[in-house]
């Protein structure tokens, strides 16, 4: 176990290096010069040069890469190029906002999708099953943007059940009751369908296994067969899938954040890419990559815990 963990953590290093190289490559080779943006409306050469020097853009590329590496190791990404705020402080203020929305989405999605999937898988082949699967296909094909635009207009503007947009700083309760419900609901409309279909396929696959026949031969009722035998086995891929969604929670849905003016990480990404705000992009990329790899590792450990057949190699 320990040897396995050490090896897995060791294997994260090359991936991390790869991610750094990719980000560095994309922004340094193709990216626009941020100093031009920063110099403002009336750029002059001296001003640009001064900014370039200040941002370290005049250093040779390997020096910049080395600084990047140092930032990754120390978790200190300096200050934003456009607002001059410390990057870590900026992200620390954005992340909780995103999580407020996404944790709800994650939990509700799991709850709704797993229960619906078990139900339709139990009645597989029936009209209910086919109808729900078809509706899911339709629901997941339609663009999130359409749901959001229409939903915001109908529920927010016409019906006026929830505010059209907004966010209260440092007031979790207001956010949960006033600002979050509509975005959460709209994201769920899109996210439940694919999960439902995926989980249904997991459950149906388990329901066709030999041990299910054994359970029936023992005299177990259909309910018991489903709950005790099938779902326990289907839980392995389902939990894995839930674990793999974790990194996404941190990034959030920038579309939702942009449209509902929610000050989260997703909106920040869009802003940073538009402004070529390299420190923020570097930080978000590195943090997400780390969370992704740690989540993958967690999922594998969880897998072992759920499925006794799995061995760590």
């Amino acid at each position: 176990m320990t040897a396995y963990l050490i090896r897995r953590i060791w294997q994260m290093i090359p991936t991390m290096i790869g991610v750094m190289l990719l980000v560095f490559f994309i922004f340094n080779v193709f990216g626009a010069d941020p100093s031009v943006i920063l110099a403002g409306k009336i750029p002059n050469k001296e001003k640009i040069a001064a900014i370039q020097a200040q941002l370290g853009l005049l250093d040779p590329w390997w020096m910049q890469l080395l600084i990047f590496a140092k930032q990754v190791v120390t978790f200190d990404f300096g200050r934003s190029w456009s607002t001059n705020e410390p990057v870590s402080a900026l992200l620390m203020s954005r992340a909780p906002v995103t999580l407020t929305i996404m944790l709800q989405v994650w939990l509700l999605d799991a709850l709704i999708a797993v229960s619906l999937a078990s139900w339709v898988a139990y009645r597989r082949g029936s009209l209910t099953d086919r109808t729900i699967v078809t509706i899911s296909t339709a629901a997941m094909s339609i663009s999130l943007l359409l749901y959001v635009v229409v939903g915001q207009y109908v529920i927010g503007r016409v019906l006026g059940w929830f505010p059209v947009s907004g966010w209260a700083m440092n007031d979790l309760w207001t956010n949960l009751t006033r600002y979050a419900p509509l975005p959460v609901f709209l994201v769920l409309l899109v996210s439940v369908a694919p999960s439902l279909r995926l989980y249904r396929s997991f459950i149906v696959e388990e329901a066709n296994q030999d041990y299910v026949r054994t359970a029936r031969a023992k005299g177990a009722g259909e309910g018991r067969v489903m709950l005790v035998h099938v779902l326990r086995n289907a839980a392995v891929p389902i939990v894995t899938n839930l674990g793999l969604q974790l990194p996404g929670l941190l990034v959030g849905s920038f579309l939702i954040e942009k449209i509902f003016s929610i000050p989260g990480v997703g909106g920040e990404i869009v802003l940073a890419v538009s402004n070529n705000d390299f420190p923020i992009i570097k930080a978000i990329t590195v943090y997400t990559a780390m969370v992704t790899m740690i989540a993958n590792l967690l999922v594998d450990v969880l897998y072992k815990w759920l499925d006794p057949r799995v061995e760590f190699k």
Binding site: A3, I6, R7, G125, Q209, D210, Y211, R213, T214, A215, R216, A217, K218, G219, A220, G221, V228, H229, R232, N233, V236, L306, D307, P308, R309, K313
Partner: protein, 560 residues
């Protein structure tokens, strides 16, 4: 002694709806009885419908597409099971009737400990506490011969061997003292030595618990060991039934006689194996008489010599450690022209790995394979390519070894294209058709796809594919193991004829000792990657030297 009938199957007709209006009549009016305290065997090849009645008894047939005829009855102690509600059936299953299945690995729930699974059946049917159920489970595990049961009760199924898993299944089945135990091919997935133990266990339990057993199998010889009554089935009808002794003594139905004769016997080696059609079409009397003699003498020219061949896998261990696992260790033998070396062993003995290593389908880690004085293992991939034409292989699974997207014609012509045999595709196609005819395939097969053929036909196609290259050596990797007995005999006969016709040498790999005895001149016995015995076939079967070989031979069913 008159016995009461525990189970009576009366005029059972079962039809499956296959979709798009197609129907398949699986049972066409089947009648048989299972008396109390008796073992009844249902015997038949695949498609005979032998398992269908058992599944019907347990209510395990899918409700959505199964139809029972109105007059059909399954009477258990006089109660018609087909008229029962689901709840009544559920209360009976696992309690009065229980069942064990072919593959214990997949039949046990992988995420629960074996103890939990035995406790489950006890808790479902008996009003006892969890603690009492667990104690009872340990007793049961002791009874079915699991060593150290109080510890093993907390094992997961995958931590046990196949034989132990089947013992657990049996423990679960007898937990509630059922009156009837249905065993559906319970030993087919197991090695021959383990099979013997499981059969002994079932016989012992049948006596001590006074239950009846409905034993379903494809293996007639196995039936001889266990059954009091035998029911022989084919295509959903019963061909013959009767008391075991009488039936084996004087089988009345030609199909029964065919099944008994098609299977190679350990003690005889006819010139040609009889096939089912010989019996069904009344050619029984015209079968060639006489025995074929086998063996390799010092004068026989050697075509292939294997010296000290080893194959190892490296497995990661710990942080930086590696561990070597020997799949094949130091195997040596010689293959003579026009002769067959049989390689026998149980699963995990490395026999298949050995065959594939010789053909360089696996890498080797030591030893030599000499062919015409050249060590094949030392050649570069490019230099080896011409030899691929001369040494070839027929695989075990006829369903997997033909590319499903190729027509039979493409399959046969591909080797000729790869090796530049013949100048034009027309000549290749002509030759392919000749070969199809040679292996008794209809000419129309050329344009068809593999999925349109049965297992035996596909194996013929595989053989024809090998023949396109006129190989000198063919490795037959369990080539007849997946086939029904009657088809097996046909393919074995074909292999025998082709060997005589083309003078090919075979490396015949199988777990089936009778088949190996029939086809081989020399036999090599493998156990856990090592060769334990290597001798002329007759000598080895007559006078086995190594204890492992003796154990294997003693476990052959029908030799009791």
């Amino acid at each position: 002694m008159t016995q009461k009938n525990l189970l009576e199957i009366k005029d059972l007709r079962v039809t499956f709806r296959m979709g798009q209006g197609q129907r398949f009549e699986a049972l066409k009016g089947v009648n048989y009885v299972v008396p109390e305290h008796a073992t009844v065997a249902l015997v038949g090849e695949s498609g005979s419908g032998k398992s269908v009645s058992a599944m019907a008894i347990m209510g395990l047939l899918p409700k959505s597409n199964t139809e029972f005829a109105a007059e059909s009855q399954i009477l258990f102690n006089g109660i018609d099971l087909l008229k029962e509600t689901d709840d009544q059936r559920r209360a009976r299953c696992g309690q009065q009737i229980s069942m064990i299945f072919q593959d214990p690995m997949t039949s046990l729930n992988p995420v629960y400990r074996v103890g939990e699974q035995i406790v489950e059946v006890l808790m479902l049917h008996k009003k006892i506490s969890k603690k009492a159920a667990r104690e009872r489970a340990i007793e049961l595990l002791t009874e079915v011969g699991i060593p150290d049961p109080s510890k093993r009760i907390d094992s997961y199924p995958h931590e046990m061997s196949g034989g132990q898993q089947q013992r657990v299944m049996i423990a679960m089945a007898i937990a509630c003292e059922p009156k009837l135990l249905i065993a559906d091919e319970p030993t087919t997935a197991l090695d021959v030595t383990v099979q013997k133990q499981i059969i002994e266990l079932l016989k012992k339990l049948q006596r001590s618990h006074g239950m009846s057993i409905l034993f379903i199998t494809h293996d007639l010889e196995l039936v001889r060991e266990i059954a009091d009554h035998v029911v022989v089935m084919q295509h959903g009808v019963i061909r013959e039934q009767g008391a075991s002794e009488a039936l084996f003594e004087a089988p009345q139905d030609p199909y029964t006689r065919a099944l008994l004769a098609c299977r190679p016997h350990i003690d005889t080696r006819p010139l040609r194996l009889p096939v089912v059609d010989d019996f069904l079409q009344g050619r029984e009397k015209d079968l060639p008489q006489g025995e074929r003699s086998r063996g390799v003498g010092p004068a026989d020219p050697i075509v292939l010599e294997v010296k000290g061949l080893s194959k190892t896998y490296t497995v990661k261990q710990g942080l930086f450690g590696h561990r070597e696992v020997h799949a094949v260790k130091d195997v040596s033998f010689k293959l003579a022209r026009g002769k067959t070396v049989g390689i026998v062993g149980e699963s995990g003995s490395g026999k298949t790995t050995l065959g594939k290593t010789i053909l360089r389908l696996h890498s080797c880690q030591g030893g030599e394979v000499l062919f015409e004085g050249k060590d094949l293992m030392k050649l570069s991939d490019k230099d080896y390519k011409p030899y691929k034409k001369r040494l070839n292989i027929i695989f075990q699974n006829p369903y997997a070894s033909l590319n499903p997207r190729f027509t039979v014609g493409d399959i046969l012509m591909e080797p000729m294209r790869v090796h530049g045999i013949f100048d034009s595709d027309k000549d290749r196609a002509d030759h392919a058709r000749e070969l199809l005819k040679r292996v008794s395939m209809p000419d129309g097969a050329f344009f068809k796809y593999p999925h349109e053929f049965s297992g035996g036909q596909r194996q013929r196609i595989s053989i024809a594919r090998c023949l396109t290259m006129k190989p000198e050596i063919i490795v037959c990797d369990e080539s007849v193991s997946a086939l029904d007995v009657s088809v097996q005999a046909q393919v074995l006969n074909l292999l025998q004829e082709l060997q005589e016709e083309y003078g090919m040498s075979y490396l015949f790999i199988s777990h089936d000792l009778s088949v190996v005895k029939y086809i081989s001149d020399e036999v090599l016995v493998m156990n856990q990657g090592q060769m334990v015995e290597y001798a002329n076939s007759d000598q080895l079967y007559r006078d086995p030297q190594h204890p492992y070989t003796q154990k294997l031979l003693a476990a052959i069913p029908g030799r009791g």
